[in-house]
Symmetry: C2
Subunit: 347 residues, 2 copies
């Protein structure tokens, strides 16, 4: 077990988080272990419940460890309450395993507010970062785009936007670097508006010189629709804007799916055509399948913490584990700390 | 010709605006005149070009008037340049027709910045409004949602958000009122984020008491995905956020369409299935057809001005004319001025 990116990584899993709880996380663990032969997993939760979920299909005992946690953070718990009263929860213990060096990264599908607050409290943020940002991959034509912040920081200053850009660039390199040429630097863009003679708000305007003067591959502004193109690799924005943009996208995708389903079930003829078109439609759906984009990183912490969607199924949760593994093996927190320290020194 | 909502309304059309120019606007005029038997149209532009576009299919001469304009505002003209040097442009003259009471509303597919600046200069804003907001209908499950501001005002204060809510409510009533029960009050929501323990930015928080204390049907916060549901009729947000949200939606819709097309042309079998599914797919497309949502209102002016998308075709442009007609016949600017004056008096 090492924390230096060599084979033999250990990841800690909050097995109790998410709407479907332990059944989904155990199934995700099964999928992930089959996919990645090198990693070991510490599973935090109610051991009886975990054993029941494992049932008569045992997991390789040399690659998992069941770690008992008497408490569970619920979706209704406030961040403050979870922090104060749930010190023996599966979430807290999974994060503490990272702090103590027993794990290289943590994954949880639990309550976002509690995960954020507990991660900050236990792991602390890197120097110069007040509050971590939330970063996630979203589907784009011909690939995907990393976007941040997705809702942790509202009223972000120009300095915050610059930090998001730095953190996003490092994370995108960790996730996509393996499939790119050596020395690949993600193209970083600032989310802005262009429809009017007013271009951008104050924070965006002030962030431009910071980005232009940085070592990042800053490529200028991106408008909302460009998130979904191949033009950029990282899109940086205030958390309010990012969250609205992400949720808006989900709303559009859901409306489109709903109408498509409705049209293909409107009459017996349409249903027949739908049956014929099923493989085509399935292939279409797989290309925008949100499960392959599951796993939002809490960047800016002194450790890797990945949030899986509360409603994630096993395939989606397994993807969040993959994101955590990539961030940990590329030592994203160290890289962020180093790059921000260099900036602070230069200032 | 009256400006009081009675039959016999007159609308002024900037016939030269938009990417395709006069060919599209003349065809749109033809479509619109067939649909609405009461309205008369003043068409501003190069009369020779307009006559050529009309060709040998004459428009009813008692319902249109060709008004010559020597100049055209181009898409490249800055707002300041258009305002200073294009005083005889089709856009400027169409707006002036509203100012002079010769028309009840104006429609242009020209340069948004120039249209905004010229409208403000010629028509002025109603008392208490510094800069008009841009409002448009967007498709939602089972109907549509009016959203504003879509990019005219960035860094909007709580007071601005309150004004957007008031203007949006009045405009939504003008457009949708005819198909609703008497006394229908649109449900107005503030766009916000809910994923974190931080709820909203400062402006949104401060706008809540203003909206709660108003005569509007304020229903609370909406998250990004709720724009696309039946939960709300009007969604209010800062222009930066609204523009990003709108453009993001366009990006998602375009990506989805692209993938759908790609899947249905991937092989000869898929193409065959696509041919069979064509009527179903066409019906699906028609439900999210952006043309039926074309026509963004510049609200807060002392007159009705509607912006058609630069790339609009005749069907889309005709829809923008319909939006202008509804706003004018419901005297939206008067209603806005009255409601805002009442608020100012009460303060």
């Amino acid at each position: 077990m090492t924390a230096d990116g060599a084979p033999g990584q250990v990841l800690s899993i909050d097995a109790m988080g998410g709407d479907a709880g332990v059944a989904v996380t155990i199934e995700a663990v099964r999928l992930y272990l089959a996919r990645d032969p090198d990693v070991r997993l510490l599973l935090f939760g109610d051991t009886a419940a975990m054993r029941q979920a494992i049932g008569d299909r045992p997991l390789p005992h040399d690659r998992i460890e069941l770690c008992h946690a008497e408490q569970v953070v619920t979706m209704e718990d406030s961040a403050a309450l979870a922090l104060r009263t749930k010190k023996r929860s599966s979430m807290r213990l999974a994060i503490e395993a990272v702090k103590e060096g027993r794990a290289d990264a943590c994954v949880s599908a639990g309550n976002t507010g509690a995960l954020m607050a507990t991660s900050r409290f236990v792991l602390k943020t890197v120097a110069g970062i007040d509050r971590p940002a939330i970063a996630a991959m979203i589907p784009a034509l011909g690939g995907h785009t990393l976007m941040l912040d997705l809702g942790a920081n509202v009223d972000s200053s120009a300095e915050h936007l610059y930090q998001f850009a730095t953190m996003g660039s490092i994370l995108a390199r960790a996730i996509d670097g393996p499939s790119r040429p050596d020395g690949w630097l993600p193209r970083v863009a600032l989310l802005n508006i262009g429809s009017e003679d007013i271009k951008g708000n104050e924070q965006v305007k002030q962030a431009v010189p910071l980005l232009q003067g940085s070592a990042l591959n800053y490529v200028g502004f991106a408008e909302g629709h460009e998130i979904y193109t191949e033009q950029v690799d990282v899109v940086v924005c205030d958390g309010f804007v990012g969250n609205v943009s992400l949720k808006t996208s989900e709303g559009v995708a859901r409306m489109v799916s709903h109408y498509l389903r409705e049209e293909f079930t409107r009459s017996w003829w349409n249903k027949l055509v739908g049956l014929l078109a099923r493989p085509v439609l399935m292939s279409f759906r797989s290309r925008i399948d949100p499960r392959q984009y599951n796993g939002a990183s809490l960047v800016g912490l002194r450790g890797v913490v990945v949030k899986s969607h509360g409603g994630a199924d096993a395939i989606a949760f397994a993807n969040a584990i993959r994101i955590a593994q990539l961030a940990a093996s590329n030592r994203v927190p160290d890289m962020i700390a180093r790059q921000l320290a260099a900036t602070l020194d230069a200032a």
